[in-house]
């Protein structure tokens, strides 16, 4: 290989590094922006309930929870399997309302709760593990939701 070829290749490597730096920077800032707007639009009631006293001047409405709710009809999740996303070290809260009796199993966190036909169960736990986890009707073996915990 000639000296010139060598220089061209090393030059290319330098160019790639610069491009990557730019892409990675814009990527991470976009991600930041993206998640900001997400939390702005979807801040849940739980946020408000746990809001510090600084928010006390706001009239506190009676809880109208917007907690993620998985509705099960005929043993199947309404609207297909949905993904519910939480941040790590935050609070995981979701409700399963079912028209059939079964055991709801939240994999990974390994929490299982029985639900009666027409009843609902609420899952609350600290988001300690990141990853994606199945929520399943254990007896039927049907996945009804996916919980995602991002770092």
């Amino acid at each position: 290989m000639s000296r010139n070829q060598r220089f061209i290749l090393l030059g290319l490597a330098a160019v790639v590094l610069v491009v990557a730096f730019v892409v990675a920077r814009s990527g991470s800032s976009e991600e930041e922006g993206g998640s900001k707007s997400a939390s702005d639009t979807t801040s849940t009631t739980d946020n408000q309930q746990e809001a510090p006293t600084g928010d006390a001047h706001r009239p506190r409405k009676p809880a109208a929870p917007q907690v993620a709710t998985i509705v099960v009809k005929g043993g199947k999740p309404v609207g297909g399997v949905k993904r519910i996303t939480f941040r790590k070290n935050g609070q995981i809260v979701f409700v399963v309302r079912s028209d059939v009796a079964d055991e709801v199993h939240f994999h990974g966190y390994d929490i299982a709760k029985d639900v009666k036909a027409g009843g609902s169960v609420r899952f609350t736990t600290k988001a300690k593990i990141d990853g994606r986890f199945e929520v399943e009707l254990e007896d039927r073996g049907t996945q009804i939701a996916e919980v995602e915990v991002t770092p």
Partner: protein, 469 residues
């Protein structure tokens, strides 16, 4: 704003998630896709490493001649002992599968087969050499039987082994790996313990027939799919267990001596292609294609379950063919460099460069499975049949998902892909300068191999990132 991040913020996204959410049916936690910044950095590292490597790698071949040093001699009893352990483990797995609880996660068999055997042994092999060989249960049984037969029969009354047909090459292994991958990724009852046990018995039976026809060593090195598969990874390791000796070699050196018999490229394409499909089949691209395929098979008259299986079979085979096609394309490009090498010669002589890439794919896709579900061994060993027994007092152990964070897994995945890429590049470079008379032709041939490697590594990164969106 930072604070608000820390507070729980739940977003609900309606997604058409693929039906087969967990590929193995054992998985309680799935990996998060790698974020964009990491993807960008990984891709850049790959390109930079490639260019710098091409510009600065050694001008004379360094790996083509094996430099081994024997460091220890091993007692004969070791081989026998390992064989007995291997047969016992095989027997226990089958017994658990047949007699135990038929829920996949409560039975020892599925975890042993999919996690410890299929994923654990490749990791161990790449680190410590061909560790499967002495434990290989069907090899141990065949050797035991042949030893007994030799003692009981008169020396000349035992038939000689048939000559192994050259055309067969590693093709039996290709078929074996393809079938296993199909069961693991496509088959509806993939975690049914008794079905797995029966398939394991059938596999062992086929190997015993093969070994009795063509000789134990010959069949083991060509036809025994798992032995061949694990051995490929073991060749990357610096440890070489040959006969009664333990030798040390430079890393990567062992794979240079891979003889490209018929079916070798097909085997490596199958390995990379099936692992790719594991990632691909969990992604959004696949979940937008799959329903069309499925409804096509439904229209022909298959029921929903079989239609899904058939759709996934098509996807699996397509992925293997895409990988094989990519490699073939690179080889066809290299062919244009000249010096009178045929495409099939080139395809064979560069086949070994795919081994580190195949390992990188395995690590990227199955590292978390091994780390998390490998822990299930603790409670399954105490309760192999899933009947509530607690043999070693570890029956109530659980999987600790906090041993490594999602971020840690990302780095392992990306690190494996980048390292596999660099290893493939080094192997291709060394082979090229050994094969081509002029240095200029060698460099030109390497542009093509570089393109192949970059495509495989980009595919690998893409599978990790977009696949799970």
């Amino acid at each position: 704003m930072r604070l608000r991040h820390a507070v729980a913020s739940a977003t609900v996204a309606a997604l058409a998630l693929p039906q087969a959410a967990s590929a193995h049916g054992l998985v309680g936690r799935q990996d998060l896709p790698i974020p964009r910044w990491l993807f960008a950095w990984a891709a850049a590292t790959v390109l930079v490493a490639s260019f710098v490597g091409l510009a600065t790698l050694w001008p004379k071949p360094r790996l083509q001649e094996l430099q081994e040093r024997v460091v220890a001699r091993l007692p004969a009893i070791l081989d026998v002992g390992c064989g007995v352990i291997g047969v016992a483990a095989f027997g226990l797995t089958i017994y658990a599968g047949l007699a135990g609880n038929q829920t996949g996660t409560a039975n020892l068999a599925p975890t042993v087969i999919y996690v410890l055997f299929w994923v654990g042994i490749p990791f161990a092999s790449a680190l410590f050499g061909d560790v499967f060989r002495p434990f290989n249960p069907w090899r141990a049984i065949a050797r035991g039987v042949s030893w007994l037969a030799g003692r009981m029969a008169r020396q000349d009354s035992l038939p000689d082994a048939l000559p192994y047909p050259a055309r067969l090459g590693r093709w039996p292994a290709v078929i074996g790996i393809l079938i296993f991958a199909w069961v693991e990724l496509v088959y509806v009852d993939k975690t049914d313990p008794s079905q797995l046990a029966i398939m394991a018995i059938a596999y062992a039976a086929v190997q015993l027939v093969g070994m009795s026809l063509y000789g134990i060593e010959t069949w083991e090195s060509r036809g025994d799919a798992f032995a061949v598969y694990f051995n490929l990874f073991a060749r990357l390791s610096p440890l070489d267990w040959r006969g009664r000796k333990l030798a040390v070699r430079r890393p990567l050196e062992g794979v240079v001596g891979l003889t490209p018999v018929a079916g070798t490229v097909a085997l490596l394409s199958t390995m990379i292609g099936t692992t790719s499909f594991d990632g691909f089949s969990q992604g959004s691209t696949w979940s937008s294609i799959a329903p069309h395929l499925q409804s096509f098979f439904l229209d022909i008259g298959f029921n929903a379950e079989h239609a899904l299986e058939l759709a996934m079979t098509v996807g699996l085979l397509a992925m293997v063919l895409i990988v094989a096609g990519l490699y073939r394309l690179g080889v066809a490009g290299m062919h244009t460099v000249g010096e009178g090498h045929t495409t099939s010669e080139l395809a064979g002589r560069f086949a070994h460069t795919l081994v580190p890439i195949a390992l990188a794919y395995v690590i990227a896709h199955y590292f978390s499975l091994l780390v998390y579900n490998g822990q299930a061994t603790a409670y399954l060993a105490s309760d192999p049949l899933g009947d509530g027994s607690d043999l070693f007092g570890t029956g109530s152990a659980t999987i600790d998902y906090s041993v490594i964070s999602a971020t840690g897994i990302w780095y392992v995945q990306v690190g494996a892909l980048v390292l596999g890429h660099v290893c493939g590049l080094i192997l291709a470079h060394d082979r090229a300068i050994a094969m081509y008379r002029s240095a200029r032709d060698a460099t030109r041939s390497q542009y093509w191999m570089l393109a192949v490697m970059v495509s495989f590594t980009s595919l690998g990164l893409w599978l990790l990132s977009a696949a799970n969106q």
